[in-house]
């Protein structure tokens, strides 16, 4: 019986070789895909909480997310076979004029870790690009990131563009250092999260 707990630990440490090896071992031992997935998701939750509490920092978080991503890729065919689909389709990006992407990347990885299907549009994404991606992918969740006060208005413009395009069934979650809950309320976003760990909780609650 492969050690699923060890798999969780390997992901938390960001040990991509070990986590891939243990994922393959679990698959070979016919552990149900859902069980393997649950272990990975729980591990990423812990990683997010440690980051929130300043116990780990950006490098540790990035390598943990990478280990998770690679293990998840190994598991994907089994998830498909078992009819386990991602719980939601999400589109995420940094708004127009803004090139900061570290925080956005962490949120995208945590969402992947929570078994969302995440389409990452990158940085400097125009409202129209968000609209197109949400429409084309039938996304239920949209994440908008802004790190500059000068680009916060682009959040507002993007929310407005989604509404104007009739895509307001997709839930919009916003974040980035200068963004606040009040700002989310003001621009009509559905949610706000101060960090990557709570971004998962907020998204889960909205869906």
């Amino acid at each position: 019986m492969p050690d699923l707990q060890e798999l969780g630990e390997a992901i938390k440490r960001g040990d991509r070789d070990q986590s891939a090896m243990l994922t393959n071992a679990a698959i070979a031992a016919k552990v149900p895909a859902q069980e393997i997935l649950d272990v990975m998701v729980a591990a990423m939750d812990v990683v997010g909480q440690r980051f929130q509490k300043n116990e780990i920092f950006v490098p540790e978080m990035l390598i943990a997310a990478r280990a998770m991503k690679e293990s998840l890729a190994l598991l994907e065919p089994l998830l498909v076979d078992a009819g386990i689909t991602p719980i939601a389709k999400a589109v995420i990006g940094t708004v127009e004029g803004d090139l900061h992407d570290i925080g956005k990347n962490l949120v995208a990885m945590m969402w992947k870790g929570a078994n969302f299907d995440v389409i990452d549009l990158g940085t400097n994404v125009s409202p129209q690009k968000f609209v197109d991606a949400v429409r084309d992918n039938n996304a239920q969740l949209v994440g908008l990131s802004a790190l500059l006060t000068t680009t916060m208005p682009a959040i507002k413009a993007t929310v407005a563009a989604l509404k104007a395009a009739g895509l307001d069934t997709a839930k919009v979650v916003i974040g980035g250092a200068p963004v606040t809950q009040e700002y989310a309320d003001e621009v009509g976003a559905d949610g706000y999260a101060p960090d990557a760990a709570s971004a998962v909780n907020v998204a889960r609650a909205l869906l």
């Binding site: 300043n54 920092f57 950006v58 490098p59 990035l62 390598i63 090139l99 006060t149 000068t150």
Partner: protein
Amino acid sequence: MNGRERLLAFLTGDSVDSLPLMPITMMYAADFAGVKYGQYVTDFRALVESQIAIADAFDFDFVSCISDPAREAADCGARVAMFEDQPPAIVETDALLASKSTLSTLTIPDPRTATRMGDRVRAAALFRERVGDRKLIEGWIEGPCAEAADLRGINTLMMDFFDDPAFVRELFEFTLELGVQFARAQVEAGADLIGVGDAAASLVGPEIYREFVWPHEKRLVDELHAMGTRVRLHICGNTTSILEPMGQLGCDIVDLDFMVPMDKARAAMGPDQILLGNIDPVRILRGAAPETVRAAIAQCHQQTRPRYIVGAGCEVPRATPEANLRVLTDYARSTMP
């Protein structure tokens, strides 16, 4: 005392007539002088005239060559996007060191003749000509970690710390030497002090900071001192977890961003370290009423006095009300350390 006299006296521990004042202005200075930011970063004359205008208007004790993090990277060959009225941006998706093997082919540009570095060296020289000994002249370089992030891509560098420590060390050797040479050219041209911006260092925790970043920052600080100049270290972001080692670098000034509690910084770095900062640039300096700005800067001072210099946590943001910036001037000029 004029600004230069005040700062030089303060740095050596002599008595001064009021608190020194060193807020960072970049886009704010350009706007103030009616210069487009794209011109500010490419024409040293526009930068120098804007800096002198803002420093005179608000009685700053210094003028600065700081403008954007991309100068060194651009001259090394990195792809940099330029804008009419925004800071240049390094194109991270097409990073110069996307492939690690490119590092061995890189050479350090001659700072005096390279396009963007040379422009800054000329700014230092023109400052010397235009402000003489009235105000302290600050040069600027990227710190070893920030420059490594500029060349390699910041997201990738963060994982390199685990994936390939030897590569990181080799890269930091390069960026350290690049910084030293760029600083030397600015000092020779007239800079009194070198500002070191090492923003990416705030993203790593204490272990990586101590193992990789600190030793290179320390060597940089020592080299700068050996060339007879002074050092202001500014790490944008939350550095609360690395305050202690930062205090052991021997910098003349440690300039802290707003997320750092000043009382903690004082406790971590001891009574002699000069601290600079650190009111919230956006929420307080730009967004709050003058009384709030005053209370915030007074609190920074109370928590750190007497070795304290007035400033914001980072760049004074665009569209900060002049009345709010004036509060910093009034506080500095009416208060003793």
